[in-house]
């Protein structure tokens, strides 16, 4: 798969301060998460992808184009939703999005049509003629998303898309991002300091710490691996016989206290078969759970790793 973003020794300095320090990664996921604590350099990386900051060393390529030489072309392919408020208070929502679409190169009529569509899509159809200054925080976030998608970009950069949203608004925003990802028409980069946002929306994650690359992981593969990693709580029967039966079927097992068992299923074994084995061995499976929070594990390890690299 072609890389969406390729970083090769990317360094960005503001004066003498190194903000991004020799980042090297090839990001190919349909939806890429940028994770890191506040000040890790996520927004600076997004701004560098847009050509707002010039790399002091190294290269960065977006959709195969070098940011140094083709920033304008890259910006034509990108939709950008910034972290902070970004609107003109006196303009109506739909007029603002229409203007932004026209600046991206859409003819007047198409810009108008797509601005209306984008507003309905993000759930602001009924308030699209109100001035942006009167919008609530959640509505402003949705309007920012509308302007980012109205011109039909190939790559969508979302900087802290759930910033300041209440739980229902956050859920709506995440659903929108998941819907855009599922359609498969464009690729996404979601920058967030919230693990849940990245976990729910992304299939690849780049973890930054103090401007350095702390980890780069494929969440889809992690999820696949996790689907084979189970934790069971059992009761009754002889656990030893049950474990032996599981191992004969190719499972890797580890027994814990009070009937708890951790196991890795082989590819050819289904969860349903575990219940069949348990039935034969007279063991009750009272709880079965897939491993969760893999991203949290990776993130915490990355934050604790000496030198900031896993």
């Amino acid at each position: 798969m072609d890389a969406v973003i390729e970083l090769d020794g990317l360094e960005v300095r503001f004066g003498t301060r190194v903000i991004l320090d020799r980042l090297t990664a090839s990001l190919t996921g349909r939806s890429i998460g940028l994770l890191g604590p506040n000040g890790a350099g996520k927004s600076t990386l997004l701004n560098t992808l847009l050509g707002f900051h010039r790399p002091s060393a190294g290269t960065v390529r977006v959709l195969g184009r070098d940011v140094r030489t083709a920033a304008r072309e890259i910006r034509g392919l990108i939709g950008y939703m910034p972290e902070n408020d970004a609107f003109i208070a006196s303009m109506s929502g739909v007029r603002f999005v229409r203007m932004m679409a026209e600046l991206a190169g859409l003819p007047k009529a198409q810009a108008m049509e797509r601005a209306h569509e984008a507003f309905f899509y993000v759930g602001l159809g009924e308030v699209r003629y109100r001035t942006l200054g009167t919008y609530s925080l959640g509505m402003k976030q949705a309007a920012k998303l509308a302007q980012a998608i109205a011109h039909g970009p190939k790559l969508l950069l979302l900087d802290e898309p759930t910033n300041g949203l209440d739980p229902p608004a956050r859920t709506r925003m995440i659903q929108l991002i998941q819907d855009i990802r599922a359609r498969g028409d464009l690729q996404l980069v979601v920058s967030s300091h919230l693990l849940r946002d990245v976990e729910e929306c992304c299939d690849q994650a780049l973890i930054l710490k103090e401007g350095r690359l702390a980890a780069c992981c494929n969440l889809e593969e992690e999820r696949k691996a996790n689907r084979r990693f189970l934790e069971l709580e059992t009761r009754g029967g002889a656990n030893g016989d049950f474990l032996a039966a599981l191992e004969r079927m190719g499972c890797q097992t580890a027994a814990g206290a009070q009937g708890r068992i951790k196991l890795v299923l082989p590819e050819d074994l289904e969860v349903r078969q575990l219940y069949e084995i348990a039935g034969r061995e007279k063991v009750q499976i009272r709880r079965l759970s897939h491993k969760r929070d893999s991203l949290e594990d990776i993130f915490l390890k990355a934050m604790e790793a000496p030198g900031g690299r896993l």
């Binding site: 847009l50 707002f52 950008y80 910034p82 970004a86 039909g152 028409d185």
Partner: protein, 300 residues
């Protein structure tokens, strides 16, 4: 697709050429300005002087019109000459200052107030194009007030007088055109720079006048105390007037310059000094714009 079908779809149509995107910002700005009744009235009123001047030019060349008003011989009292056109330029340029002070501060500050600038620049639209688009709003408005009516009047006079008059007085046309451009470029740059740095529009508008009138008063104080003429370097209208005088009359001026832009005889300063100060002012405005017009703030 109907808007009620709430879905996202990619855009696969044609894109507009690059030059047409430069016109998007002016188009939206004109729509906004058109909503201001005060501005509409002021703008229309600014054409009264050129209209009256056109009537005068016409009347001077049509004895029957003067006869209609029992004013035979009045043409001898009015001369369509250098002073006539300089006065027109002076009046219209002063009105242009008022208009720029009213319209200019609202150009960039709303984009900066809530960080909308990053959205402009996240598109295939450069900082220079952004500034050019914003400047175009002012330049179009101010052109229609200054050199456009000036040249139309010149053409009317040339038409009524005959071709030789046009060739004999080509400097008037050049002065109207180049002099107006020097003035409106300076006004546009100053208005945009102040709009970028001062968020409160009335203050930015007030500062526009401050640059012209307070600095001029300060220059006059220096002239009086030091018994010199170099204080005029702080007087922007004097500097522009000097430039106009050179454009209209060359090195041997016979008039005191245009109304509001007087350059009294004996107080002239060397043209290169005046041009250098105007260029410095323009560069300072460009620097102010370059500092503020950025896709993302850099905290060093």
């Amino acid at each position: 697709m109907a808007v009620y079908k709430k879905t996202y779809r990619p855009y696969q149509g044609d894109l507009t050429p690059r030059w047409r995107r430069l016109l998007v910002i002016p188009r939206y700005a004109f729509e906004d300005l058109h909503r201001s009744r005060f501005l509409n009235v002021f703008y229309l009123a600014s054409f009264i002087y050129p209209l009256v001047a056109a009537l005068i030019v016409y009347a001077v060349h049509n004895a029957s019109v003067l006869k209609l008003f029992n004013a035979e011989g009045a043409e001898r009292l009015i001369s369509i000459n250098l002073v006539f056109f300089q006065s027109l330029l002076g009046w219209q340029s002063m009105l242009a200052l008022f208009l720029a002070s009213f319209v200019g501060p609202g150009q960039i500050s709303p984009d900066l107030a809530n960080n909308a600038l990053s959205l402009y620049l996240a598109r295939p639209f450069s900082r220079a194009e952004y500034v050019a688009s914003k400047m175009a709003v002012l330049l179009i408005l101010l052109s229609l007030m200054t050199w456009v009516p000036g040249l139309l009047l010149f053409a009317l006079e040339a038409n009524l007088e005959g071709g030789s008059w046009m060739f004999d007085h080509w400097r008037i046309a050049a002065g109207l055109f180049l002099g107006s451009w020097a003035w409106i470029l300076l006004l546009a740059l100053l208005a945009l720079a102040l709009s970028a740095w001062v968020k409160w529009k009335p203050v930015a508008g007030g500062l526009m006048f401050g640059v012209f009138f307070v600095a001029a008063a300060f220059g006059a104080v220096i002239n009086n105390i030091q018994d010199t003429n170099w204080g005029h370097l702080l007087n922007v209208s004097f500097l522009v007037g000097s430039l106009w005088q050179h454009l209209f009359e060359g090195g041997q001026p016979t008039t005191n310059g245009a109304v509001f832009f007087r350059v009294p005889s004996g107080e002239q300063l060397p043209l290169p000094a005046c041009a250098a100060v105007l260029a410095l002012l323009a560069l300072a405005c460009l620097y102010m714009l370059a500092r503020k017009i950025r896709g993302a703030d850099v905290v060093r």
